[in-house]
Symmetry: C2
Subunit: 347 residues, 2 copies
Amino acid sequence: MFRKFLTMFSLMLLITSVAGADDDGLMKRAQGMFKPIPLTPPAIEGEPATPEKVRLGHMLYFEPRLSKSQLISCQTCHNVGLGGADLQQVATGHGWQRGPRNSPTTFNAVFNVAQFWDGRAKDLAEQAKGPVQASVEMNNNPEQVIVTLKSLPAYVDAFKKAFPAEKDAVTFDNVARAIEVFEATLITPNAPFDRFLKGDAGALNAGEKEGLAAFMNKGCAGCHNGMNVGGLGYFPFGVVEKPEADVLPPGDLGRYKVTNTAADKYVFRSPSLRNVAITQPYFHSGTVWPLRDAVSIMGSAQLGMVLSEDEVGSITAFLQTLTGEQPQIVHPVLPPSTSRTPKPVLN
Amino acid sequence: MFRKFLTMFSLMLLITSVAGADDDGLMKRAQGMFKPIPLTPPAIEGEPATPEKVRLGHMLYFEPRLSKSQLISCQTCHNVGLGGADLQQVATGHGWQRGPRNSPTTFNAVFNVAQFWDGRAKDLAEQAKGPVQASVEMNNNPEQVIVTLKSLPAYVDAFKKAFPAEKDAVTFDNVARAIEVFEATLITPNAPFDRFLKGDAGALNAGEKEGLAAFMNKGCAGCHNGMNVGGLGYFPFGVVEKPEADVLPPGDLGRYKVTNTAADKYVFRSPSLRNVAITQPYFHSGTVWPLRDAVSIMGSAQLGMVLSEDEVGSITAFLQTLTGEQPQIVHPVLPPSTSRTPKPVLN
């Protein structure tokens, strides 16, 4: 009896230590490939985040008067209550027009190498100027935005405080700079995977660890690594096998339109997989809804392999550990329009 | 010299006491006609506001999945950052369609006698069911709303907690009841006029007091009285003189459509003037933008008098003292869609 107990006990010790060693190896490999999201917003080079600038950017992010209709704000497609994205296949904007691509999340976007699916904006400030002017999104222009903001004394004051060294602080550049600084606060730390990366082996369960191992072993982490588990480089979609036309519409040539280089046809910036489980639908086409299906498609299109149901399941389970603490954003109180404020134009 | 000083001194005393007496009289008259907004949300009869119910209503108010497109929420037209209203002439909804009337504010709406411009909903719960189903607004139906909410485990849990006595808590009635309880928290106390009503004679300046006196003397307060400075009764628009057709479109018969009574043609519920200075444009038609113009039109249409520039100016100044402290609302974090959640439908 006692001997049997001893055997059992040794066996248990052995299992525990083997599992421990495995965990240790997995954690070390992961730590070499990924980084946790920091607890506080990162500094942006050359753009110090004063409280006044963040406050202004916060107002502008929710400001529908940036759009011609005065109905659409950054928040419309990048909803802070919906993981920084929307629930749409593609962005829906002015006149109910549908944009060409799925709205990427603004959460943790500050950690991406560049912005937009094709990386055509080098940073969040440059990005912010795009949708304001896109005819299918906010359908506005910089001059009108400035006339509008200058008609609102609370904004004139907020710009002065945010950019105290500038004589004429209400500029389209400063609109974008303030939004960038606010967006840099939209980070989601403390995901289970972050806690794992910081040494808490119990933050992932066995299935999730299996998924993490598969994610690294199968090659997913080749394009999805670093702090954002993606977002750092450009890769052809369908590198091994072209997915269906609805997933990869032939007409959207991706980065080719930015660089005019043949090798960039169907090349996109790999998306960050941070909060991926709460930001469906997937891909630049926004045509795939279940996360499992997106994982399968990536297996065949990018890695040239049919992932088993178990592999898809465990990788999906791992991806769910990338959901971090969502930012708690107070809806800003926006200033009332004045007699000088342009009227909304819907057509 | 001393005598001269004494005379001056007596004169000053006299002026002060006369002004004081005037203030006192004005304040007493105002206190008999109006009431301050309370500092805490009012109780709704038969609908106790538990924290769980408020929390659920808060989520639902910001929930775009109440709409067929999954793009439009209560917040779209009743923006908590824009005085509980939008910046539009009339509500703009599904498919960029334009609704028939200007969106009334949800702020302090709990104090109105009934909801909608024609009073067709007896309370906020009944009101909340309207836009969800209106084809030009959210274009959804109760069955689809319930299928959607039941597909989201966080909502199923939130409904159970909000309505613990009910076996099947996720119902369309309960959606409306939770939204009502949340909306009852959207009150704006401590406006300068509220402080005046509570005895602080210095809360209004001389011009604003003149405006308040004119507001009562000219007859404005006949339809705009009580806690909400309006919102308590039904009155014909154009009782003395019909305004222009753009301000009072002949096709919108107002309360007549609700009661089918000839006397109710062009009858509307008088709007609350709380926060009126920050909720332009004005009237059910939403066609008048400057508050001064709205005051002038009311003078001729309702009172049959041409108000002087000074009178319009002072009444407008008084109306600006009705802007209260705006609620600070955190944007709720909404649950991610699941495989059972219906997809957004844009057409």
